[in-house]
């Protein structure tokens, strides 16, 4: 990300410089001898004279004077002003120069021109985008935990697109005496989701959106190690597994473009999935084993957090 930001900054810097400097013109002295004055004023002192046919380049015009650079007798470059009536404009941005404001201003040396803040380009319709997500999940049955993921967006129109995302949220199932749920342990849910996204740009920077879709949930469950250890001390192995599942989701969010192609955002998604699992208990000496199924494991969870997206 840092690399992307740096490249963007340099690019924007060049763009700003271009806008401030404006076009230059080529001037040719059209009289036998012309004065070069210290100020853009006929009453100012003549600091040099130039002969017919001498060529100059000027990028600054103040009133009826062009600012030019000349070399004095000591070989140094000095700046002065020559009246427009004594020169012929041979080419360049004459029209734009002529349209500059008429009031007299001090010339600004090129070397002092500094980049200025540039307004971002509105993200009206970006064809594709990549994003990263980090946040938290809150499961109705298994508590809350961290969530993170990645997404790829493909715009079909300005307002409609498809999003493929991979998400992972992990929770710590608490100790429970509810025999229909998983026991104490770590539950990781990894939905691979396809969403239909509807985007509604507001102004140049803000794009709210809603999404809905389905996905395949890759699930893993690891029993709490202390729980497993306590039974192992008694010579009994316990284990629980959870199946993968198909699920659905609804979501909403908002992207805020901080750069023409970069947006930060916040989103919330509600995932609905139900799956099955199993448990086993096996005694180590006799190998007596008992097991059961968990037929109604609900993985429903809110997943919310922040994202950073790059559009191109």
């Amino acid at each position: 990300m840092k690399r992307i930001a740096a490249v963007s900054a340099i690019f924007i810097g060049f763009l700003a410089v271009g806008l401030i400097a404006g076009p230059s013109v080529i001037l040719k002295v059209k009289i036998q001898t012309a004065n070069v004055r210290s100020e853009p004023d006929m009453s100012s002192a003549a600091i040099a004279q130039v002969k017919f046919g001498t060529l100059f380049e000027s990028s600054n015009k103040v009133g009826n004077f062009y600012e030019i650079a000349i070399t004095d007798k000591d070989g140094k470059t000095v700046y002065g002003f020559i009246h427009a009536s004594v020169v012929e404009v041979l080419g360049g941005g004459e029209e734009e120069v002529i349209k500059e404001e008429e009031k007299v201003q001090k010339p600004v040396p090129k070397t002092e021109v500094k980049p200025q803040r540039v307004e971002p380009v509105p993200a009206e319709f970006k064809k594709m985008g990549l994003g990263l997500f980090v946040g938290a999940s809150s499961s109705s049955d298994y508590g809350s935990g961290l969530a993170f993921g990645a997404q790829f967006y493909f715009g079909i129109t300005k307002n409609i697109g498809l999003e493929v995302s991979g998400l992972r949220f992990q929770t710590t199932a608490k100790e429970t005496d509810d025999e229909t749920k998983l026991s104490k342990g770590k539950l990781a849910v990894m939905p691979l989701q396809l969403s239909l996204v509807a985007r509604f740009p507001v102004g140049a920077k803000i794009v709210p959106y809603v999404a809905a879709g389905g996905g395949y949930y890759l699930n893993t469950f690891t029993l709490d190690s202390a729980l497993v250890g306590s039974w192992d001390n008694l010579g009994i192995d316990i284990d629980e597994t959870i199946d993968n599942a198909f699920g659905f989701h609804l979501g909403a969010g908002l992207d805020y473009f901080i750069k023409p192609n970069i947006a930060v955002g916040a989103s919330v998604k509600y995932c609905l999935a139900k799956t099955k699992g199993s448990w086993t208990m096996k005694e180590q000496v006799s190998s007596e084993e008992t097991s059961g199924t968990l037929n109604d494991l609900k993985l429903n969870a809110f997943v919310f957090g922040a994202s950073l997206k790059y559009f191109f």
């Binding site: 729980l227 039974w231 008694l234 010579g235 208990m281 005694e283 007596e288 008992t290």
Partner: protein, 558 residues
């Protein structure tokens, strides 16, 4: 004769609880009366026997007719037969014939009415069994009712000796801190026992703050003057603190049948049963008591049963009569089985039960009798006889008993009255005594610990893991290895305090608690938990499962 010795030893009473191990009989007497072939003639009680009455009821009826109610009370007290005033608790077996359930219920109702018309007081019934109270004067009349097939005393259960270090010993504590996995259901564990005296004072401390209590005794008394069940419940709670406990008691086998049906309906997963029976089955896992175990098993319940405390109170062998005088020769020169202790209640059965049809045995036609003598004044003195007639459809059982104010020598004699073969005999001596000679620990498993559907638990020391000498051993009469496990005994309980809780009674609730603990923590089934515990048992004694330790001592760690 010692003045405190009562005549007519007979059927032992439930109150014998625990004494086998708790009372200080361990100081063995090395010298005693020598065995002798001499057999003093006992009185003949076999005349005019009513085949529809068991022997003690015949005796009580005869005593009542000849000597009155006071002598009956004396007989009952001697034999620890419970009486309600002048009434005796008995069980009438209604003739079920080929009746279906509805027909049987109608018949039981009719017979119950007839019993009450004769002055009996019906307490409860189960299938064809009608438990009621009768005056000894009406015993014969009730037995003569056409649809009364047999009238007898109820079978009586014996709580095993009482005594937890077992939690740490078995590793149960390593499970206590673990959060249950894939189960939210608390394990329901039932302690099925004779009494729970003092349980309410243990709630919230030694027991959960809330327990389910149900008595199936005729009097509805959950405490029943017996603390044994409360101590067992303490152990279950120590092992499985999160389990839901059911405290259920009974007094007879009829009440037990009702209790088990109720327990099944409560969704109980584990039963802790530290009760044993004698002369209540063939030792092959059949009979009315074992039937309850199977019924519970079929309902998915684990039945943890104490093996029994009769390793030192047991003899068995094939009838031998080397001098052809009909008296059993325990050796070539010895016709008595000598027992030492302050009491001697002896239960004899032999391998002629016939076929168990689900409700009864087809019965025996080999008739053996049992006699009890005691040593006093330099000679053996007769004190009790059991001479029931086994003439085709009777259970092959006899029992005698008596007690003394101080330990004495007792002698048991076995007489072959009428037998077509030499049967294999088995004698348990219950009470504060031990078999002084010819003790055979093998095969001393109680009923229903012989059930193939029970998890039978022997007793090992809670510190040393040594097998306690009293712990009953296998095999069963059909050759199966028992016990299945051993578990700690001699543990500390609030109920027994300083005495500690000894006996297989303490071991079974450890086992039941282990089941309750794992079932409450895991989704394993009861059979899976059984397999898990079998895999983890600490193998003791002979490598592999054996008749002393079973698989080994209960261990919950891997």
């Amino acid at each position: 004769m010692n003045k405190t010795i009562r005549r007519y030893g007979w059927l032992a009473f439930a109150g014998l609880i625990a004494v086998t191990l708790l009372l200080p009989v361990k100081a063995r007497v090395q010298e005693g009366p020598q065995g002798t072939a001499f057999m003093p003639p006992p009185p003949d009680h076999q005349k005019n026997l009513n085949p529809k009455l068991d022997f003690p009821l015949q005796r009580m009826a005869a005593i009542y007719a000849a000597e009155g109610i006071e002598k009956v009370r004396e007989y009952a007290a001697q034999h620890k037969i419970e009486m309600e005033g002048d009434l005796i608790r008995v069980v009438a077996e209604a003739d079920s014939g080929s009746l279906g359930n509805a027909g049987l219920q109608a018949r039981v109702s009719i017979v119950s009415g007839e019993i009450e018309a004769l002055g009996g007081r019906v307490e409860t019934s189960y299938e064809n069994l009608i438990q009621h109270l009768v005056n000894p004067g009406t015993i014969q009349a009730i037995a003569r009712l056409p649809k009364v097939k047999f009238l007898r005393l109820p079978l009586k259960p014996f709580p095993m000796a009482v005594t937890t270090e077992g939690v740490a010993k078995t590793g149960a504590d390593t499970w206590h801190g673990v959060t249950a996995y894939r189960t939210t259901e608390k394990a329901k564990v039932c302690i099925l026992d004779l009494g729970f005296q003092g349980y309410s004072g243990l709630l919230g401390t030694e027991l959960p703050s809330s327990v389910t209590v149900r008595s199936f005794r005729a009097d509805g008394d959950i405490e029943a003057g017996e603390v044994h069940g409360a101590a067992c419940a303490e152990i279950v709670h120590d092992m499985a603190p999160d389990a839901d406990l059911f405290l259920v008691n009974f007094g007879t086998e009829v009440e037990q049948h009702l209790a088990v049906d109720w327990i099944i309906g409560q969704g109980v997963k584990v039963i802790s049963y530290s009760v044993g029976w004698f002369n209540a089955g063939d030792g092959k896992g059949t009979g009315p008591i074992c039937n309850d175990v199977k019924k519970a098993y079929d309902a998915g319940i684990i039945w943890c049963n104490s093996a029994g405390n009769d390793g030192e109170n047991h003899w068995e062998g094939t009838f031998t009569d080397s001098d052809a005088d009909h008296w059993m020769n325990f050796s070539d020169t010895d016709e008595h089985l000598m027992v030492y202790g302050s009491e001697c209640y002896a239960y004899m059965n032999w391998d002629d039960w016939g076929t168990w049809n689900g409700t009864n045995y087809s019965g025996s036609n080999n008739d053996y009798n049992l006699y009890l003598y005691y040593w006093s004044g330099g000679t053996w003195n007769w004190i009790d006889s059991s001479t029931g007639s086994q003439n085709g459809n009777d259970w092959p059982t006899e029992s005698v008993g008596a007690y003394a104010s101080a330990p004495v020598y007792w002698a048991l004699y076995v007489y072959k009255s009428s037998a077509s073969r030499n049967c294999k005999l088995e004698i348990f001596t219950v009470g504060n005594n031990y078999v002084y000679e010819y003790n055979v620990p093998a095969g001393s498993i109680d009923i229903p610990a012989d059930s193939p559907y029970s998890v039978t638990v022997g007793a090992t020391d809670c510190i040393s893991d040594a097998l306690h000498s009293y712990s009953s051993r296998g095999p069963t009469h059909d050759g199966r290895v028992k016990p299945d496990f051993t578990a700690p005994s001699g543990v500390t309980t609030q109920t027994y305090g300083y005495r500690n809780f000894y006996g297989t009674s303490a071991s079974a609730p450890h086992m039941a608690g282990a089941f309750g603990l794992i079932l409450g923590k895991t989704p394993f089934s009861t059979s899976q938990v059984q397999a898990i515990l079998e895999g983890r048992g600490l193998d003791l004694g002979t490598s592999g499962k054996d008749n002393l330790y079973g698989i080994g001592r209960l261990k919950l760690t891997k």
